[in-house]
Symmetry: C2
Subunit: 304 residues, 2 copies
């Protein structure tokens, strides 16, 4: 039996309250979640922000795991300090070393139950493929976006985000809690099988590869001049065809998608992305074979 440990993080954003609630119940009644004999460390990512019900205090913790920030000797941002602390405590060379990080999030967008991986690290993709084979969850592959860097799970050799929505910020909803638990159990079941060697990988995985993001149309002073069209609201994962309404101006004018390439929109109208100038992101749906080398990376990581 290998000795790898998995870091489970909830409340990386302090206004995403469903996963922290699950942790709380779980700590009182451990049998509520089947851990599949995987060694776990649970932590609240940003407890100070959770206490205040805010996404963050000084800056987004889930954009703070950037090398330049982590290597600076001093920071005025509490989230950068927290990022350093989390790595010191639970990083692969930390006090309680973890090799894999699973970060539990929720969104106001109608993303359903899905996985987010950052870049093309082999172990991440292997783990995502296993969970997808188990539950069918879509995978959003975020990569190549210079404006969005420093995600928490990138601080660990392997990691991914479980993202559930739609749910308002700061609101407990039973179905969101349940979806979080189901995705997490599928993840732990997969990891349990990896470590025991009782595993067959799927032949391929389906990814939605990040192409870029669209902002709301803005006026000369930078204020939004249109909002997400009501027909697009909730339409995450449905390909955009030429002519699909994107935005609605106050005077009733409709701005439509004009491309021909059928991109798949995700994170449509996520409340927290307003400040990031992201009204939605566009992806390309791709079926990728799962090469042996990729499977080996996850096996190696968990020491089997």
């Amino acid at each position: 039996m290998s000795r790898f440990q998995v870091l489970l993080v909830a409340g990386t954003h302090g206004n995403e309250v469903n996963a922290p609630w699950l942790f709380e119940q779980w700590s009182e009644t451990p049998e509520l979640i089947n851990t599949h004999a995987v060694q776990l460390v649970q932590v609240i990512g940003n407890p100070a922000a959770l206490e205040l019900g805010r996404r963050y205090l000084d800056r987004d913790l889930n954009r703070s795991f950037r090398l330049d920030l982590l290597s600076s000797s001093s920071s005025s941002d509490r989230e950068v300090d927290r990022a350093k602390e989390l790595l010191r405590l639970y990083g692969p060379q930390g006090d309680k070393p973890c090799q894999i990080a699973i970060d539990l999030h929720s969104t106001t967008a109608a993303m359903g139950n899905c996985l987010v991986v950052y870049g093309r690290r082999s172990a991440d993709l292997a783990l995502a493929a296993l969970i997808q084979a188990r539950l069918g969850l879509p995978i959003y592959l975020h990569e190549g976006d210079q404006d969005q860097q420093g995600f928490l799970v990138e601080g660990w050799p392997c990691g991914l985000v479980i993202e559930i929505g739609p749910v308002p910020q700061s609101l407990l909803q039973a179905c969101i809690v349940e979806q979080t638990r189901l995705a997490l159990e599928a993840c732990l079941e997969s990891l349990g099988k990896v470590s025991s060697g009782l595993l067959s990988y799927p032949d391929h995985l389906v990814v939605h590869r990040h192409l870029g993001s669209l902002d709301l149309p803005r006026d000369a002073s930078g204020r939004p001049a249109a909002i997400v069209h009501p027909q697009l609201q909730g339409g995450d994962w449905r390909p955009l065809k030429a002519g699909t309404p994107l935005f609605l101006r106050p005077d009733g004018e409709v701005l439509r998608f004009e491309g021909q390439e059928l991109p798949v929109p995700v994170f449509i109208n996520e409340a927290a992305y307003f400040e990031k100038h992201i009204a939605m992101s566009l992806t390309s749906r791709e079926v990728w074979p799962l090469p042996e080398a990729l499977k080996g990376a996850l096996q190696q990581l968990v020491g089997f």
Copy 2:
């Protein structure tokens, strides 16, 4: 023509962003909203909180219009200062005196498009009855709740809240903006007719009278021990029958409604009410006749 003025307030809660956006568009393109020739003053209730995307800074502005707070000479709460300022500027004896206040809100609960009135002031009920006759909106009559006092519209001789949901906090949604506009126009159309005398009142109004509120079940340390049952989520305005699921414990136990009186729940799982220990409020649906004296109160107020 009478000279009454109506105060329109958006952003009384700084994380309810749809009505403020409507104001912004309207200020650029006045013809976007039909004011029905009613004299209007528009104001952002809590601009500092809106800037930060928070419900409030120090205390809920929409619980700060209490006589004891307003009559105190000093306050450490910025919202109490703002309440005094709003009354000094736009109160019935203010610099730009307004006789009627319409306060535009949104909620994470599935309240649809509805009106909230506080207590049984004749002019409020007359105005609500007129809007209900025009659009059919349900009316939530909030009264007799010692824990929830000091609502903004109570600072004016007549006033009501237009409440739209569900929408996450801090999120612009086109359908919420549109519902806000529709309810507001129905309100202004009614007031326009009152002031011109071209009006017939309905014979009755339907109110949902506040009976009390239910909190989440809590454990010995005060933390929630159960959450709103998924079957009840979104079930605002649907009468509770004996046996209707209310709350779900983490272990799967269902807590059910056990009364016989068929109360109608409202504001089920409003995110901002978590801190107020309100998981939902219960109301009694009642059909009230609309006596002449009540109609006269609104006519008198607008000086017709």
